[in-house]
Protein backbone atom coordinates (compact mmCIF):
# COMPACT_ATOMS: atom_id res chain seq x y z
CA UNK A 1 0.00 0.00 0.00
CA UNK A 2 1.48 3.36 -0.94
CA UNK A 3 2.17 5.74 1.94
CA UNK A 4 0.39 9.09 1.88
CA UNK A 5 2.74 11.97 1.34
CA UNK A 6 3.67 13.49 4.69
CA UNK A 7 2.94 17.15 4.02
CA UNK A 8 2.59 19.67 6.79
CA UNK A 9 1.58 18.42 10.24
CA UNK A 10 1.07 14.87 9.10
CA UNK A 11 -1.75 15.33 6.58
CA UNK A 12 -1.28 15.17 2.85
CA UNK A 13 -0.86 18.39 0.93
CA UNK A 14 -4.43 18.73 -0.53
CA UNK A 15 -5.94 18.33 2.95
CA UNK A 16 -3.61 20.97 4.35
CA UNK A 17 -4.53 23.39 1.57
CA UNK A 18 -8.25 22.82 2.18
CA UNK A 19 -7.83 23.47 5.91
CA UNK A 20 -5.90 26.69 5.31
CA UNK A 21 -8.48 27.93 2.79
CA UNK A 22 -11.36 27.22 5.18
CA UNK A 23 -9.63 29.03 8.05
CA UNK A 24 -8.83 32.01 5.84
CA UNK A 25 -12.44 32.17 4.66
CA UNK A 26 -13.68 32.11 8.27
CA UNK A 27 -11.29 34.90 9.19
CA UNK A 28 -12.38 37.03 6.23
CA UNK A 29 -16.06 36.51 6.98
CA UNK A 30 -15.51 37.49 10.59
CA UNK A 31 -13.53 40.55 9.54
CA UNK A 32 -16.06 41.78 7.01
CA UNK A 33 -19.01 41.24 9.36
CA UNK A 34 -17.32 43.24 12.13
CA UNK A 35 -17.29 47.02 12.50
CA UNK A 36 -14.08 47.54 10.47
CA UNK A 37 -15.43 45.63 7.49
CA UNK A 38 -18.82 47.30 7.85
CA UNK A 39 -17.29 50.73 7.63
CA UNK A 40 -15.23 49.68 4.61
CA UNK A 41 -17.75 47.64 2.62
CA UNK A 42 -21.14 48.41 4.13
CA UNK A 43 -23.61 45.82 5.42
CA UNK A 44 -23.17 43.16 2.77
CA UNK A 45 -23.37 40.21 5.15
CA UNK A 46 -26.59 39.22 6.96
CA UNK A 47 -27.28 40.58 10.45
CA UNK A 48 -26.81 37.33 12.32
CA UNK A 49 -23.07 37.26 11.50
CA UNK A 50 -22.23 40.47 13.30
CA UNK A 51 -21.87 40.93 17.04
CA UNK A 52 -23.68 43.80 18.81
CA UNK A 53 -21.51 46.40 20.46
CA UNK A 54 -20.58 45.35 23.99
CA UNK A 55 -21.56 47.55 26.90
CA UNK A 56 -18.96 47.44 29.60
CA UNK A 57 -20.12 48.12 33.10
CA UNK A 58 -17.95 47.69 36.13
CA UNK A 59 -20.43 47.01 38.94
CA UNK A 60 -22.21 43.67 38.82
CA UNK A 61 -25.87 43.58 37.83
CA UNK A 62 -28.43 42.39 40.36
CA UNK A 63 -30.59 39.58 39.05
CA UNK A 64 -33.11 39.03 41.82
CA UNK A 65 -33.55 39.56 45.55
CA UNK A 66 -33.76 36.90 48.26
CA UNK A 67 -35.38 38.37 51.39
CA UNK A 68 -33.93 41.75 50.53
CA UNK A 69 -30.41 40.44 49.82
CA UNK A 70 -29.36 41.28 46.23
CA UNK A 71 -28.16 38.30 44.24
CA UNK A 72 -25.86 39.46 41.45
CA UNK A 73 -24.66 37.47 38.48
CA UNK A 74 -21.15 37.15 39.91
CA UNK A 75 -22.60 35.65 43.10
CA UNK A 76 -24.23 32.93 41.01
CA UNK A 77 -20.91 32.16 39.31
CA UNK A 78 -19.22 31.95 42.70
CA UNK A 79 -21.80 29.34 43.73
CA UNK A 80 -21.18 27.44 40.49
CA UNK A 81 -17.43 27.41 41.19
CA UNK A 82 -17.98 26.13 44.73
CA UNK A 83 -20.28 23.36 43.55
CA UNK A 84 -17.81 22.45 40.82
CA UNK A 85 -14.91 22.22 43.27
CA UNK A 86 -16.88 20.06 45.71
CA UNK A 87 -18.10 17.70 42.97
CA UNK A 88 -14.62 17.50 41.46
CA UNK A 89 -13.06 16.67 44.83
CA UNK A 90 -15.63 13.98 45.62
CA UNK A 91 -15.28 12.43 42.17
CA UNK A 92 -11.50 12.35 42.42
CA UNK A 93 -11.25 10.81 45.87
CA UNK A 94 -14.08 8.29 45.73
CA UNK A 95 -12.14 5.11 45.08
CA UNK A 96 -8.54 5.99 45.78
CA UNK A 97 -5.96 3.52 44.52
CA UNK A 98 -2.20 3.36 44.95
CA UNK A 99 -1.77 3.67 41.17
CA UNK A 100 -4.22 6.47 40.50
CA UNK A 101 -6.82 6.62 37.79
CA UNK A 102 -7.06 9.65 35.53
CA UNK A 103 -9.23 11.96 37.60
CA UNK A 104 -7.31 11.19 40.77
CA UNK A 105 -4.03 11.73 38.90
CA UNK A 106 -5.12 15.16 37.70
CA UNK A 107 -6.18 16.18 41.18
CA UNK A 108 -2.98 14.81 42.71
CA UNK A 109 -0.77 16.70 40.26
CA UNK A 110 -2.56 19.97 40.96
CA UNK A 111 -2.35 19.56 44.72
CA UNK A 112 1.21 18.26 44.50
CA UNK A 113 2.28 21.38 42.68
CA UNK A 114 0.88 23.66 45.41
CA UNK A 115 2.26 21.39 48.16
CA UNK A 116 5.78 21.51 46.68
CA UNK A 117 5.53 25.27 46.45
CA UNK A 118 4.50 25.48 50.12
CA UNK A 119 7.34 23.27 51.24
CA UNK A 120 9.92 25.07 49.10
CA UNK A 121 9.07 28.45 50.54
CA UNK A 122 8.06 27.70 54.11
CA UNK A 123 9.96 24.56 55.07
CA UNK A 124 8.66 21.16 56.08
CA UNK A 125 6.52 21.76 59.16
CA UNK A 126 5.25 25.24 58.31
CA UNK A 127 4.54 24.20 54.74
CA UNK A 128 2.21 21.47 55.94
CA UNK A 129 0.43 23.93 58.26
CA UNK A 130 -0.01 26.63 55.61
CA UNK A 131 -1.11 24.26 52.85
CA UNK A 132 -4.91 24.42 53.40
CA UNK A 133 -5.13 28.22 53.26
CA UNK A 134 -2.80 28.56 50.28
CA UNK A 135 -4.41 25.75 48.32
CA UNK A 136 -7.93 27.07 48.95
CA UNK A 137 -6.95 30.50 47.67
CA UNK A 138 -5.24 28.96 44.64
CA UNK A 139 -8.11 26.65 43.69
CA UNK A 140 -10.82 29.29 44.24
CA UNK A 141 -9.10 32.06 42.28
CA UNK A 142 -7.89 29.69 39.56
CA UNK A 143 -11.21 28.00 38.92
CA UNK A 144 -13.10 31.30 39.10
CA UNK A 145 -10.90 32.51 36.27
CA UNK A 146 -10.94 29.29 34.24
CA UNK A 147 -14.64 28.56 34.51
CA UNK A 148 -15.33 32.10 33.35
CA UNK A 149 -14.01 31.20 29.91
CA UNK A 150 -16.60 28.51 29.19
CA UNK A 151 -19.06 29.60 26.48
CA UNK A 152 -22.24 30.67 28.19
CA UNK A 153 -20.61 33.15 30.51
CA UNK A 154 -21.15 36.72 29.28
CA UNK A 155 -23.45 35.47 26.53
CA UNK A 156 -26.72 34.29 28.10
CA UNK A 157 -28.89 37.31 28.79
CA UNK A 158 -32.01 37.95 30.79
CA UNK A 159 -34.58 40.72 30.51
CA UNK A 160 -35.00 42.28 33.92
CA UNK A 161 -36.42 45.59 35.01
CA UNK A 162 -33.18 47.45 34.26
CA UNK A 163 -32.82 46.15 30.73
CA UNK A 164 -30.86 43.26 29.33
CA UNK A 165 -28.31 41.81 31.76
CA UNK A 166 -25.94 38.86 31.52
CA UNK A 167 -26.92 35.87 33.61
CA UNK A 168 -23.40 34.63 34.28
CA UNK A 169 -20.30 36.77 34.67
CA UNK A 170 -16.77 35.64 35.67
CA UNK A 171 -16.59 35.97 39.44
CA UNK A 172 -13.26 37.79 39.68
CA UNK A 173 -14.51 40.73 37.64
CA UNK A 174 -16.73 41.95 40.45
CA UNK A 175 -14.77 44.09 42.89
CA UNK A 176 -16.15 42.27 45.92
CA UNK A 177 -14.75 38.79 45.28
CA UNK A 178 -11.04 39.75 45.19
CA UNK A 179 -11.67 42.01 48.19
CA UNK A 180 -13.18 39.12 50.16
CA UNK A 181 -10.34 36.74 49.32
CA UNK A 182 -7.75 39.42 50.14
CA UNK A 183 -9.32 40.17 53.53
CA UNK A 184 -9.45 36.45 54.35
CA UNK A 185 -5.80 36.00 53.40
CA UNK A 186 -4.61 39.01 55.43
CA UNK A 187 -6.65 37.96 58.47
CA UNK A 188 -5.19 34.44 58.16
CA UNK A 189 -1.65 35.87 58.09
CA UNK A 190 -2.24 37.94 61.23
CA UNK A 191 -3.86 35.02 63.07
CA UNK A 192 -0.99 32.66 62.25
CA UNK A 193 1.54 35.26 63.39
CA UNK A 194 -0.28 35.87 66.66
CA UNK A 195 -0.71 32.18 67.34
CA UNK A 196 2.95 31.31 66.76
CA UNK A 197 4.81 34.28 68.17
CA UNK A 198 2.20 35.47 70.67
CA UNK A 199 3.32 38.73 72.24
CA UNK A 200 6.47 39.18 70.18
CA UNK A 201 4.32 39.52 67.07
CA UNK A 202 2.56 42.58 68.49
CA UNK A 203 5.97 43.89 69.51
CA UNK A 204 6.96 43.91 65.86
CA UNK A 205 4.47 46.67 65.23
CA UNK A 206 4.47 48.57 68.50
CA UNK A 207 8.17 48.75 69.17
CA UNK A 208 8.49 50.88 72.31
CA UNK A 209 11.21 48.81 74.02
CA UNK A 210 14.02 51.12 73.03
CA UNK A 211 12.24 54.22 74.25
CA UNK A 212 11.82 52.69 77.70
CA UNK A 213 15.48 51.71 77.69
CA UNK A 214 16.41 55.30 76.88
CA UNK A 215 14.43 56.56 79.87
CA UNK A 216 16.40 54.15 82.01
CA UNK A 217 19.64 55.59 80.69
CA UNK A 218 18.51 59.15 81.29
CA UNK A 219 17.55 58.40 84.88
CA UNK A 220 20.92 56.81 85.57
CA UNK A 221 22.62 59.97 84.36
CA UNK A 222 24.13 58.76 81.09
CA UNK A 223 22.76 61.61 79.01
CA UNK A 224 24.60 60.91 75.73
CA UNK A 225 23.56 57.26 75.64
CA UNK A 226 20.05 58.20 76.65
CA UNK A 227 19.56 60.69 73.86
CA UNK A 228 20.91 58.31 71.22
CA UNK A 229 18.65 55.53 72.46
CA UNK A 230 15.69 57.90 72.49
CA UNK A 231 16.20 58.96 68.89
CA UNK A 232 16.67 55.42 67.59
CA UNK A 233 13.71 54.35 69.68
CA UNK A 234 11.46 56.91 68.05
CA UNK A 235 12.67 55.86 64.60
CA UNK A 236 12.00 52.22 65.42
CA UNK A 237 8.54 53.01 66.68
CA UNK A 238 7.75 54.85 63.44
CA UNK A 239 9.07 51.94 61.37
CA UNK A 240 6.87 49.56 63.31
CA UNK A 241 3.85 51.77 62.72
CA UNK A 242 4.66 51.90 59.01
CA UNK A 243 4.88 48.11 58.94
CA UNK A 244 1.47 47.90 60.56
CA UNK A 245 -0.11 50.09 57.90
CA UNK A 246 1.71 48.22 55.16
CA UNK A 247 0.57 44.83 56.43
CA UNK A 248 -3.05 45.68 56.98
CA UNK A 249 -3.95 48.31 54.42
CA UNK A 250 -1.55 48.08 51.51
CA UNK A 251 -1.63 44.30 51.19
CA UNK A 252 -5.40 44.25 50.98
CA UNK A 253 -5.46 47.04 48.39
CA UNK A 254 -2.73 45.58 46.21
CA UNK A 255 -4.17 42.03 46.30
CA UNK A 256 -7.60 43.29 45.36
CA UNK A 257 -6.56 45.61 42.57
CA UNK A 258 -4.10 43.16 41.05
CA UNK A 259 -6.67 40.37 40.69
CA UNK A 260 -9.59 42.64 39.81
CA UNK A 261 -7.58 44.64 37.28
CA UNK A 262 -6.18 41.60 35.49
CA UNK A 263 -9.53 39.85 35.25
CA UNK A 264 -11.51 42.94 34.21
CA UNK A 265 -8.93 43.92 31.61
CA UNK A 266 -9.04 40.37 30.25
CA UNK A 267 -12.83 40.36 30.10
CA UNK A 268 -12.94 43.72 28.30
CA UNK A 269 -10.24 42.52 25.90
CA UNK A 270 -12.18 39.37 25.03
CA UNK A 271 -15.42 41.30 24.49
CA UNK A 272 -13.69 43.84 22.26
CA UNK A 273 -11.88 41.22 20.19
CA UNK A 274 -15.10 39.25 19.81
CA UNK A 275 -16.74 42.43 18.59
CA UNK A 276 -13.98 43.43 16.13
CA UNK A 277 -13.21 40.10 14.44
CA UNK A 278 -15.78 37.56 15.49
CA UNK A 279 -14.17 34.38 14.15
CA UNK A 280 -10.80 32.69 14.71
CA UNK A 281 -8.86 35.57 16.31
CA UNK A 282 -10.51 35.23 19.77
CA UNK A 283 -8.89 31.78 20.09
CA UNK A 284 -5.48 33.38 20.58
CA UNK A 285 -6.85 35.70 23.24
CA UNK A 286 -8.62 32.80 24.98
CA UNK A 287 -5.22 31.15 25.32
CA UNK A 288 -3.82 34.37 26.79
CA UNK A 289 -6.72 34.59 29.24
CA UNK A 290 -6.24 31.02 30.43
CA UNK A 291 -2.55 31.69 31.03
CA UNK A 292 -3.25 34.94 32.85
CA UNK A 293 -5.86 33.30 35.08
CA UNK A 294 -3.43 30.56 36.07
CA UNK A 295 -0.59 33.01 36.72
CA UNK A 296 -2.79 35.29 38.83
CA UNK A 297 -3.87 32.32 40.95
CA UNK A 298 -0.23 31.34 41.49
CA UNK A 299 0.70 34.91 42.38
CA UNK A 300 -2.14 35.28 44.87
CA UNK A 301 -1.38 31.97 46.56
CA UNK A 302 2.38 32.49 46.43
CA UNK A 303 2.19 35.95 47.97
CA UNK A 304 -0.08 34.67 50.74
CA UNK A 305 2.46 31.95 51.41
CA UNK A 306 5.35 34.43 51.55
CA UNK A 307 3.50 36.73 53.96
CA UNK A 308 2.63 33.76 56.15
CA UNK A 309 6.26 32.68 56.22
CA UNK A 310 7.58 36.10 57.21
CA UNK A 311 4.87 36.51 59.83
CA UNK A 312 5.78 33.27 61.56
CA UNK A 313 9.56 33.57 61.40
CA UNK A 314 11.31 34.97 64.44
CA UNK A 315 12.75 38.38 63.91
CA UNK A 316 16.49 37.98 64.09
CA UNK A 317 18.38 40.84 65.68
CA UNK A 318 18.92 43.21 62.77
CA UNK A 319 20.61 45.89 64.84
CA UNK A 320 23.88 44.92 66.45
Amino acid sequence: MAKTKRGCLGCSLPVAIIIVVVLLALFLIGFIAGPVGQSLFGNILPRWLSVPEPEIELPANVLFYIFGFPVTNTLITTWITMVFLVVFSIAATRKMKIIPGRMQNLFESLLGFVYNLCQDVAGEKNGRAFFPVVCTVFLFVGFNAWLGLIPGYNSLTLNTAEGVVHVLRPANTDFNTPLAIAISAVVAVQLYGLKTLKFKYVQKFFNFGRIFKSFGFLFKGKVMDGVIELVTGIVEALVGFLELISELVIHIISFTFRLFGNMTAGEILLMMIGFLVSMLVPIIFYGLEMLIGFIQAIIFAGLTLIFLTTAVSHHEEEHA
Partner: protein
Amino acid sequence: MDPTAVKLLSVGLIGSIGLMGPALALGLIGFSALNGLARNPEAGGRIFTSMILIAGLTEAIGIYALIIAIILAMVVK
Protein backbone atom coordinates in the same frame (compact mmCIF):
# COMPACT_ATOMS: atom_id res chain seq x y z
CA MET B 1 -11.13 73.72 28.61
CA ASP B 2 -13.96 71.45 27.59
CA PRO B 3 -14.41 68.71 30.23
CA THR B 4 -14.80 65.95 27.65
CA ALA B 5 -11.59 67.02 25.94
CA VAL B 6 -9.71 67.04 29.24
CA LYS B 7 -11.07 63.59 30.11
CA LEU B 8 -10.01 62.09 26.79
CA LEU B 9 -6.61 63.76 26.97
CA SER B 10 -5.95 62.45 30.47
CA VAL B 11 -6.98 58.90 29.51
CA GLY B 12 -4.53 59.03 26.60
CA LEU B 13 -1.76 60.31 28.85
CA ILE B 14 -2.37 57.54 31.38
CA GLY B 15 -2.13 54.96 28.62
CA SER B 16 1.13 56.30 27.27
CA ILE B 17 3.11 57.59 30.25
CA GLY B 18 1.64 55.45 32.99
CA LEU B 19 2.36 52.17 31.26
CA MET B 20 5.96 53.00 30.35
CA GLY B 21 7.27 52.26 33.85
CA PRO B 22 5.94 48.71 34.21
CA ALA B 23 7.01 47.85 30.67
CA LEU B 24 10.57 48.96 31.41
CA ALA B 25 10.56 47.10 34.72
CA LEU B 26 9.37 43.87 33.10
CA GLY B 27 12.11 44.13 30.52
CA LEU B 28 14.68 44.48 33.31
CA ILE B 29 13.23 41.43 35.06
CA GLY B 30 13.58 39.37 31.91
CA PHE B 31 17.11 40.67 31.40
CA SER B 32 18.26 39.66 34.87
CA ALA B 33 16.48 36.30 34.67
CA LEU B 34 18.20 35.47 31.39
CA ASN B 35 21.54 36.58 32.79
CA GLY B 36 21.14 34.30 35.77
CA LEU B 37 20.00 31.44 33.55
CA ALA B 38 23.00 31.84 31.26
CA ARG B 39 25.42 31.75 34.17
CA ASN B 40 23.78 28.81 35.93
CA PRO B 41 21.54 26.68 33.68
CA GLU B 42 20.96 24.13 36.45
CA ALA B 43 18.95 26.56 38.55
CA GLY B 44 16.57 27.09 35.63
CA GLY B 45 13.43 25.95 37.42
CA ARG B 46 13.87 28.19 40.44
CA ILE B 47 14.87 31.17 38.30
CA PHE B 48 11.80 30.73 36.13
CA THR B 49 9.45 30.44 39.09
CA SER B 50 10.88 33.55 40.76
CA MET B 51 10.72 35.44 37.49
CA ILE B 52 7.03 34.64 37.03
CA LEU B 53 6.25 35.72 40.59
CA ILE B 54 8.12 39.02 40.34
CA ALA B 55 6.67 39.69 36.89
CA GLY B 56 3.18 39.27 38.31
CA LEU B 57 3.90 41.78 41.06
CA THR B 58 5.30 44.35 38.61
CA GLU B 59 2.42 43.81 36.21
CA ALA B 60 0.07 44.87 39.01
CA ILE B 61 1.41 48.43 38.84
CA GLY B 62 0.46 48.60 35.17
CA ILE B 63 -2.95 47.26 36.10
CA TYR B 64 -3.40 50.09 38.59
CA ALA B 65 -2.86 52.58 35.74
CA LEU B 66 -5.31 50.64 33.57
CA ILE B 67 -7.95 50.74 36.32
CA ILE B 68 -7.60 54.51 36.61
CA ALA B 69 -7.98 54.85 32.84
CA ILE B 70 -11.05 52.59 32.76
CA ILE B 71 -12.72 54.42 35.63
CA LEU B 72 -12.01 57.79 34.02
CA ALA B 73 -13.25 56.72 30.63
CA MET B 74 -16.37 54.82 31.54
CA VAL B 75 -17.60 55.81 34.97
CA VAL B 76 -17.00 59.56 35.05
CA LYS B 77 -19.53 61.36 32.92
